[in-house]
């Protein structure tokens, strides 16, 4: 059982009190360039997800607490949570530096902060 801590309200509980909602930091291509989206870009946005062995970044919701969304960094091998951070934030810099493969490419390609809601 995973023990999760909500970074918004501080509630700690096992994973049944929370809701895992897949990969974090998925960028919607139409947000920046709505008139010039290829089918491949839209396909990648909708369906293609990272599946790393090791460090992974996910979206979670404090389902049975404050009801807010947040991000979590988790190791898919050890199931250890490395960090919990806010939904509008990027991961802590040291974790972005540790990211490998497709995540490393992704963070390298990001030169601007997450769009604030």
């Amino acid at each position: 059982m995973l023990i999760v801590t909500c970074p918004v309200c501080g509630a700690e509980g096992d994973e049944t009190d929370f809701h895992a909602a897949g990969q974090a930091h998925v960028r919607r291509p139409a947000t920046t360039d709505p008139s010039n989206i290829t089918d491949e870009e839209q396909r990648d946005y909708l369906f293609i997800r990272h599946n790393p062995k090791g460090l992974h970044f996910e979206r979670w919701r404090c389902d049975r607490g404050c009801g807010k969304w947040f991000h979590a960094a988790r190791d898919t091998v050890t199931m250890e949570f490395k960090a919990f951070y806010k939904i509008t934030d990027l991961p802590p810099p040291e974790l972005m530096a540790q990211a490998k493969g497709s995540w490393a490419e992704y963070f390298a390609s990001r030169n601007q902060p997450e769009i604030k809601a």
């Binding site: 918004v8 509980g13 009190d17 049975r64 404050c66 009801g67 807010k68």
Partner: protein, 200 residues
């Protein structure tokens, strides 16, 4: 045309007999859902002006003033409890004070059923349905938190050390009642963490 008549969520439910704790429905509770931003000082001041007490901003806390209680539900959401007869007046006051401020006040008195559980051992019985460690000392009087209880969404309010209010959505009222009738039976009482009396 049929007359509108109020019926409590647990009307006609089985009687709570032979239980280790006392169990009853609180049918006459008025509830108001209030949403707004704590970063907005005007919102906080307006709410305090109407309620007489500042909104609790620390997670999982509640405050009370007279016959009004305010439970923290989220960083931007509170549940105001008051007598059912006062709801309309209170909501009118809130809307008046909050006009022009980004906020929401809605009468949700019929949204949830309230079950009161009272007595020694109530914490252990509640723990049969939730992953929360109610014996940990975090759940003192005044604490409220949403939880997963018997696989459904519920809100727990610790009224006093041995008095608990469990709020569940109205459609789950009978389910929750039956779950509590089964788990709170006198022979099913448990003692946790060294307090068991085991006879072999």
């Amino acid at each position: 045309m049929s007359e509108l008549a109020y019926e409590s969520p647990l009307a006609g439910a089985a009687a709570a007999d032979g239980l280790a704790v006392s169990l009853r429905e609180i049918p006459d509770r008025g509830m108001i859902d209030l949403r707004g931003l704590t970063s907005d000082d005007a919102f906080k001041a307006a709410a305090k002006g109407v309620l007489g007490v500042g909104l609790p901003t620390a997670p999982r806390t509640s405050v009370s003033w007279g016959d009004i209680k305010v439970l923290w539900l989220s960083v931007d959401q509170w549940l105001i409890l008051c007598p059912r007869t006062k709801v309309h007046a209170l909501i009118a006051d809130l809307r008046g004070a909050l006009s022009g401020i980004h906020s929401l006040a809605v009468d949700v008195s019929d949204m949830r059923a309230v079950i009161r559980m009272e007595g020694d051992g109530a914490r252990e019985i509640l723990m049969k349905g939730t992953s929360l460690d109610l014996l940990s000392g975090d759940y003192t009087a005044g604490t409220c938190r949403r939880m997963r209880f018997a696989e459904i969404a519920a809100l727990l309010h610790v009224v006093e050390d041995d008095i608990f209010d469990v709020y569940v959505f109205r459609s789950y009222a009978h389910y929750t009642w039956d779950f509590l009738l089964a788990t709170a039976r006198e022979p099913a009482a448990i003692r946790l963490f060294g307090k068991q009396s085991v006879s072999l």
